[in-house]
């Protein structure tokens, strides 16, 4: 096992938890969207840390690919969320 993995893995867990919490407690929608992104980044970090296998060893490519997919999904979701929020601020009916 490699210390680096643990450092970033645990950091990832913390980021995940921090983000989750503020996504639930914050009132501002924008802050919530931020929080979700950070929470996601935490999970990605943990995932990539799994792949790391030392300086000379080439890392496991699978988690990298998964995270790449995850990043695109995350940005799509963020974009949709922000567009909804904008529509919400503009909406004037009732």
């Amino acid at each position: 096992m490699i210390l680096t993995q643990l450092i970033f893995g645990i950091t990832g867990g913390l980021l995940f938890a921090i983000g989750l919490r503020s996504a639930l407690v914050r009132e501002s929608l924008l802050a919530r969207i931020l929080a979700v992104n950070i929470s996601g980044a935490g999970v990605f970090l943990a995932l990539v840390a799994i792949a790391y296998r030392g300086l000379e060893e080439t890392p496991d490519p699978i988690p990298h690919a998964l995270v790449l997919t995850g990043i695109v999904v995350a940005v799509s979701a963020t974009a949709l969320a922000l567009a909804l929020r904008r529509r919400l601020e503009e909406a004037d009916d009732e």
């Binding site: 929470s39 943990a46 995932l47 997919t69 969320a81 909804l84 009916d93």
Partner: protein, 485 residues
């Protein structure tokens, strides 16, 4: 050729592109897609019932490195269910969305949602499931926000954020699973998983994510606003299928993949939450002012029933009794899917014709829209769980299992839930049959009223009298994708 296994996913995906490219022909393209998807699903179900579970290793890579698609009795049954509901709701939508622009916006997203559902039902890979969950969530949110009413958009946004959190919890579980067991293929995991902290925590994370998505009490709070403010056809599918998708995963994980990991205590926990969902949801439904809100809360309650099965399945020894209970669980899910979508579509008709869906002002509806009110009644019968609906047989088995395992706690819960359901259903009918002066709705046309009626009939008559085949099909090998070729 097993490549045909991809059709239920790829047909809607491909046609969604066509609907995007030819916006003015979106409607015919969409209907055609739904018909083709239904055929594909039916074919798949027929194949599975004949030759047992099917497997397709995508890209020709062995599962683990590549992604595998599995189809077994359970997944193909749900595939068929969702195809039928989606077709009915789709036909209804042609009457609901009149403006070409609305249709052009609606159809590609609708088909993408079908893609997501069917991909989810067939996927055999943990991370791929995460992607399907996100696809489902985003397309569902986009559909829920159609029309852009402030309330709808707000509900959709909250729905989106909570959905994302759910997916993240799921993904965190996936991460731990990969870290611990070094594979993402469900069937491989099933053999590798052992009752140990990694598996427990991973499962806990994934389950909690799915519970959030399937809106089990007390994580249900997002559902009523989202389902009650979306356009009628969308609400129908959100309540009937989307929450079921998360539940399907939960079921598969619980009973199959993580079979050795789950504990009886956890099952009881789910049961308790289910019981509270039944009581709370039914109560709120009874107090609801608007028909759509009533339907949404009733969904919360109906999902509760599904969770009551978990402690019972945990207590029942493997064998005929357990299989029967499992069949009842699936029958319950199917009945609710058809009945609830019927209810939402009927509500949509009333809302459009009467201009509102306030329950207390439904007077005269029975005269103005007899077919739709009849549909409401039929769907109501299924929701209460009265004969001859499929839910009656399911509840019978639920009672039976509770008594057989000595878990008497559930008996009063189910009884109370049923009575509350009866109360809110007949509350609607009472107002709908009340005479009212000057009620002059436009007479609805067939494509608006018939889909709901057909769904309601499926829920009450077909599943009531013809569910034995389902039982025989689903129960023995229900969760045995492991034996895939």
């Amino acid at each position: 050729m097993n490549n045909l296994l991809t059709l239920p996913v790829m047909i809607p995906l491909g046609f969604s592109l066509l609907a995007l490219l030819w916006p003015r022909r979106a409607t015919p393209v969409g209907i055609l897609a739904l018909l083709a998807t239904l055929l594909a699903s039916a074919w798949l179900t027929w194949r599975v019932s004949g030759n047992g579970p099917m497997l397709l290793a995508l890209g020709g890579w062995e599962p683990g490195l590549g992604i595998a698609l599995y189809a077994d009795a359970l997944s193909s049954t749900l595939l068929l269910m969702s195809s039928v509901v989606a077709l009915a709701a789709g036909i209804y939508s042609t009457g609901y969305f009149r403006a070409p622009g609305d249709r052009a916006r609606f159809w590609p997203l609708w088909l993408l949602m079908m893609t997501a559902l069917h991909a989810l039902f067939l996927s055999g890979d943990l991370f791929n499931l995460y992607v399907t969950l996100e696809l489902l969530g985003l397309s569902a949110v986009a559909l829920a926000a159609l029309g852009g009413k402030r309330k709808a958009v707000e509900a959709a946004l909250r729905y989106l954020i909570l959905g994302l959190l759910g997916s993240l919890l799921f993904l965190a579980g996936v991460t731990l699973t990969y870290a611990g067991y070094g594979t993402l293929d469900l069937m491989k995991l099933r053999d590798l998983l052992a009752p140990e902290p990694v598996a427990w925590i991973a499962l806990a994370l994934m389950i909690s994510g799915l519970l959030l998505k399937t809106a089990l009490f007390p994580l249900h709070f997002w559902l009523p606003p989202a389902h009650a403010n979306a356009p009628a056809p969308v609400s129908a599918v959100l309540s009937a299928l989307v929450v079921k998708a998360a539940f399907y995963l939960l079921l598969r994980f619980w009973l199959e993949i993580f079979e050795d990991v789950v504990t009886a205590f956890a099952a009881w926990l789910l049961g308790i939450l289910g019981a509270m969902a039944v009581l709370w949801g039914s109560w709120r439904a009874l107090r609801a002012v608007r028909l759509k809100l009533l339907a949404a809360y009733s969904t919360v309650a109906q999902l509760g029933y599904l969770f009551l099965f978990f402690p019972l399945l945990a207590a029942l020894p493997a064998g005929a009794a357990r299989d029967t209970a499992l069949g009842a669980l699936i029958l319950m899910a199917l009945t609710h899917a058809f009945a609830k979508s019927a209810l939402f579509l009927a509500t949509g008709v009333i809302q459009q014709k009467a201009g509102h869906d306030r329950i207390e002002d439904l007077g005269g509806a029975a005269r103005a829209l007899p077919v739709t009110v009849f549909t409401l009644a039929l769907a109501g019968v299924a929701l209460i769980g009265l004969p001859p609906s499929g839910a009656f047989l399911a509840k019978w088995q639920l009672f039976s299992a509770a008594i057989a395992t000595g878990q008497w706690l559930w008996v009063p819960v189910i009884a109370t839930g049923s009575l509350l359901a009866a109360a809110y259903v007949f509350r609607i009918l009472g107002y709908a049959f009340a005479p009212a002066e000057g009620v002059t709705y436009r007479i609805a046309d067939g494509r608006e009223e018939l889909p709901a009626l057909i769904l309601a009939i499926l829920a009450t008559l077909l599943l009531g009298f013809g569910s034995v085949q389902l039982w025989e099909f689903v129960t023995p090998g229900a969760l045995a994708a492991g034996e895939a070729p």
